[in-house]
């Protein structure tokens, strides 16, 4: 299940108008969410609250043999209450749990102020986050600071006794102007330096004057697959351990305005290691998404595959009538020797939060390792029940089993 703090974190980006997905690191995020979702282990209870518009807290208690937990605090300089619904009985499940996320529109010129922030200057916005794991005494800290509408700096650190040198820090500078986005990072661990960038073309990345005649002219143009291409690369170099890595990638994904089947296809290549990976995710039906991944290594001829799916479930219809089929006539209509007036058919309201009751996710890879996850809501509690199954070990197939319960206010 997506953690509450992650949810709040993304709400911060939403409020400040930052597109989190316009990054090379997020190129594969849709298939990854379908193919590599984590399954819970043991019992885990989370109590979270957005106690003030700027401040969120979360307490977590878990038990996997031993009891552990974590305390986390988050401070945002922009008020977040308008951007998200924090109460767990009102949170829209698709926004919290949906794996297949349609592309967010590109914003060429980021607004200086956002209506969500209530007219505050976006460039002044910042976010502070800290989390302490007990009893491991592991501390996580994150600072996000917008310097200008297009430039954002992130600084994250982990401190723990078991880590080498007592901890690691990573600094990340992100520059996003819509059509292209660049990132540079530096890590204290091994002196790793990294640079990655993504370039968008086609679809909404093109100037609107090309799209305008197509819209006015023939509608058959609209029938074609309408989407955006993104391509990019990354390079890393560890200055202390003299190691490095490089990869190139390209993605095609349909835009939300596309009328046909939404899909996302990604191809990544690692020229040093000879790995080619192809990911494909598609919204197969109204309540179903599918994803596949094929990997092949040209040097070692090793290959792997994985498939994943998510199925959204409607709530069970509640039976109102006592006897099935024939409705009871009221006493009045019996007196008048006529049938009741036909009642207006109940239609689900447009803004009904109970549009979905839950989602079932499943994945499987070439090692016959299966992950199953069922997430949903009971009253005001969000739950997540999952298991990792290894079909190779027939004597003890259930490797992990877990239940997560989350309440937030």
């Amino acid at each position: 299940m997506r953690e509450f703090m992650d949810y709040v974190h993304s709400a911060f980006y939403e409020a400040t108008g930052w597109n989190r997905d316009n990054s090379y690191a997020a190129l594969n995020s849709t298939p990854d969410a379908l193919l590599e979702f984590p399954t819970p282990r043991g019992l885990r209870l989370t109590l979270s609250s957005l106690s003030s518009p700027n401040f969120a807290t979360s307490y977590e208690l878990g038990s996997v043999g031993v009891v552990d937990g974590s305390i986390s605090y988050l401070y945002s300089s922009v008020p977040l209450r308008v951007a998200i619904e924090s109460r767990s009985e009102r949170i829209s499940l698709p926004s919290l749990l949906r794996a297949y996320r349609p592309l967010a529109p590109l914003t060429e010129l980021k607004p200086k102020t956002s209506e969500l922030t209530g007219g505050l200057d976006v460039a002044k916005s910042s976010l502070l986050y800290g989390r302490l794991y007990l009893p491991q005494s592991l501390l996580e800290a994150l600072v996000v600071k917008r310097i200008s509408p297009a430039l954002q700096v992130q600084f994250s650190a982990v401190s723990g006794a078991h880590l080498r040198n007592g901890g690691t820090t990573v600094g990340l500078a992100q520059y996003d102007v819509g059509r292209y986005a660049l990132e540079g990072l530096a890590s204290s661990d091994g002196g790793l330096l990294g640079f990655r960038g993504v370039y968008n073309f086609g679809g909404d990345a093109e100037p609107p004057k090309v799209a305008a005649p197509a819209e006015n002219g023939n509608h058959s143009e609209r029938e074609r697959i309408y989407g955006r291409f993104s391509t990019g690369g990354e390079i890393y170099y560890g200055t202390l351990n003299k190691s490095g890595g490089i990869s190139l990638g390209a993605r095609f994904a349909t835009l939300p305005s596309h009328k046909g089947t939404p899909l996302s296809a990604t191809l990544t290549v690692n020229p040093l290691m000879g790995t080619i990976s192809a990911n494909y995710a598609v919204v197969a039906g109204k309540h179903c998404s599918l994803a596949t991944r094929m990997e092949f290594n040209v040097f070692s001829y090793e290959s792997s595959w994985a498939v994943g799916t998510e199925l959204w479930r409607k709530p069970l219809p509640r039976l109102v009538d006592d006897n099935y089929g024939v409705p009871k006539r009221s006493f009045e209509s019996k007196l008048k020797w006529k049938l009741d007036d036909p009642e207006p058919v109940k239609t689900p309201k447009d803004g009904d939060p109970e549009e979905y009751a839950g989602v079932l996710k499943a994945r499987m890879d070439q090692n016959l390792q299966i992950g199953v996850l069922w997430e949903g809501r009971i009253k005001s509690l969000l739950f997540s029940l999952g298991s990792g199954i290894d079909l190779r070990k027939t004597d003890k197939p259930f490797r992990t089993l877990g239940l997560e319960i989350q309440f937030s206010s």
Binding site: Y24, L138, L192, G245, T268
Partner: protein, 550 residues
């Protein structure tokens, strides 16, 4: 005396190689592997070659038909080779991310994709040079401990020999790893192999079986709980409490015993206390008294026992001396042999003391722990003369008594030095006369019925008597000696060492006084005492055993 080492029967055994391969594979995969190794390490080929190692005997501590304890110097440059197979992760970024917290991970998209490569590594031209402590008994198998880092050089050839960087890295890493294996794993492997070879019945006993079997039995006593379970305090447990314990997990697993067994054990220990002749019988237990007389001193020698065995021994000396050998490995070479040799003496005599409480001391027992110090003859070979002299003093003081700390020997005040050197010379002379005598009369059990000693010249013995007399006089004159020594020392050194030294001096003085007193008593009892009587004195109280008794 001649030893016959057979190298070929080991290699001639067809099953030996497969067994050794299995054990080595297990040992290599036991510890958590670094993230760069993604598969199990398989021992593909193992050949010990035809060239045996050169062994040089430095010391022999114990020698009998069925047991042996000695220190060797081994050099090996044979044609043994070993081939390992595994798979490694070739992407450095992948291994870099492996053990890092995900929160600060750079989250690369595809740059960390894995590429595993099968690799085969051949280790050959192994050159070893080591000091080895070898302890063998037919009952307990063979224990072999390296005192220093045995690996001198070896050649590593692998699939990636053409790449200079990889070759150098592998050479470095494997040398490091192999040193670790030699020092820590190999003794255990050899011990297990020897158990299978020489005493298969011992190998299958639960107390001495390999660790996995012990684990299976030790981890879950709830699979078949005893009929009348009690906890560690002897309180009875009913079924509910037992199920609770089961739910709580393995934390309390060790504290579950059968009440019957506890009562039996209590009766057994009580019988020792009360001098009662009745010993309650416990099934499936081998009592130490039942085993052969010759093996008794071996039975408690902890260095031979596998680590799991120390639990079954009730003697505290068993656990305390288990670590003697491994500890000494960290110290310097030249100094060590004598020290650990004397520790062998101590450890072998202390069980004698422990046994002595239950069964009264016999004169024949003391002969069992004799020292055949062949090192003296080899002293010309030793190049480090200083280390050698130090080792000598170390051995001498150790044979004196419990004040065997070498640090103190070096910091004795001058005033003491005379006494000390006197006592030392005395002790060493006693010591060596003792030694010389033992091989002369190997069959005689009682020292009292020994014929007069021929090998010791009379001048020497008379000088001993003189030295004793001198010592006694000095002691009478300097009755306040410890105090003086202390005041002398206060000015020069700090307080903590003074306290230590004071304690040492007191002990020393007491020791000397007691010895002199014994000597005088003897002389008073036998006024006609001549050469004969003088020789009796060292025989009845060999210094080594005084150390153990006090």
């Amino acid at each position: 005396m001649a030893f016959n080492f057979n190298w070929s029967p080991l290699t001639a055994d067809a099953e030996f190689y497969s067994r050794a391969r299995d054990l080595l594979t297990k040992a290599l995969n036991k510890s958590p592997k670094p993230p760069i190794i993604v598969d199990d390490i398989l021992v593909d080929e193992l050949n010990l070659g035809n060239v045996p190692p050169d062994l040089e005997i430095l010391e022999i501590g114990d020698l009998a038909e069925d047991r042996f304890r000695g220190i060797f110097k081994m050099t090996y440059s044979g044609d043994a080779y070993l081939t390992l197979k595994t798979r490694v992760q070739a992407n450095p970024l992948n291994t870099y991310l492996h053990s890092k917290p995900s929160f600060t991970s750079p989250k690369p998209l595809a740059a960390a994709s894995s590429l595993t490569i099968p690799i085969s590594i051949t280790l050959s031209e192994i050159k070893l040079s080591a000091f080895i402590i070898l302890v063998f008994s037919k009952q307990k198998g063979l224990t072999l401990v390296f005192r220093n880092d045995p690996l001198e050089s070896l050649k590593v050839s692998s699939t990636f020999d053409s790449i200079q960087f990889v070759r150098d890295y592998l050479q470095r890493t494997i040398e490091q790893k192999l040193r670790d294996l030699m020092m820590n794993e190999l003794p255990a492997i050899i011990h297990r192999l020897s158990l299978q070879l020489w005493c298969p019945d011992q190998a299958n006993k639960p107390g001495e079986s390999p660790a996995d079997e012990v684990d299976e039995k030790g981890v879950d006593p709830f699979i078949s709980p005893p009929d009348d379970p009690v906890d560690a305090n002897g309180n009875l447990l009913d079924a509910n409490a037992l199920s609770e314990l089961t739910l709580q997990g393995a934390g309390d697993a060790q504290s579950l015993f059968s009440q019957k067994n506890l009562l039996r054990l209590a009766a057994l220990t009580d019988s020792h206390r009360t001098l009662s002749l009745f010993t309650p019988g416990i099934r499936d237990v081998v009592f130490r008294a039942w085993t052969g007389h010759g093996d008794r001193s071996e039975a408690v020698t902890p260095a031979m026992a596998p680590p799991s065995l120390s639990r079954t021994h009730s003697l505290p000396t068993g656990t305390s001396t288990t670590y003697t050998f491994s500890d000494t490995s960290s110290a310097t070479q030249g100094y060590l042999p004598s020290r650990s040799a004397s520790q062998i003496n101590l450890s072998s005599t202390s069980p004698g003391r422990a046994v002595g409480t239950s069964s009264r001391s016999r004169p024949g027992r003391k002969k069992k722990t004799r020292v055949v110090n062949l090192r003296r003859n080899k002293s010309q070979i030793e190049t480090m003369s200083e280390a050698e002299t130090e080792s000598e003093t170390g051995s001498d003081t150790i044979s004196e008594g419990p004040f065997s700390e070498p640090l103190m020997t070096s910091s004795i005040p001058e005033m003491e030095d005379e006494e000390d050197s006197l006592a030392e010379s005395l002790a060493s002379k006693l010591h060596f006369t003792n030694e010389e005598k033992k091989p002369a009369v190997p069959l005689n059990q009682s020292p009292l019925s020994q014929p007069p000693l021929v090998s010791v010249p009379s001048e020497q013995t008379s000088s001993i008597a003189k030295a004793l007399e001198n010592a006694s006089k000095k002691l009478v004159v300097d009755s306040a000696m410890p105090k003086r020594a202390q005041t002398k020392h206060d000015s020069s050194s700090d307080s903590s060492s003074v306290i230590l030294e004071q304690a040492w001096i007191m002990k020393m003085a007491g020791e000397i006084a007691r010895r002199v007193y014994d000597e005088k008593n003897r002389q008073n009892n036998n006024p006609s005492g001549g050469v004969w009587e003088d020789q009796e004195a060292p025989q009845e109280a060999p210094p080594t055993y005084e150390a153990a008794i006090h």
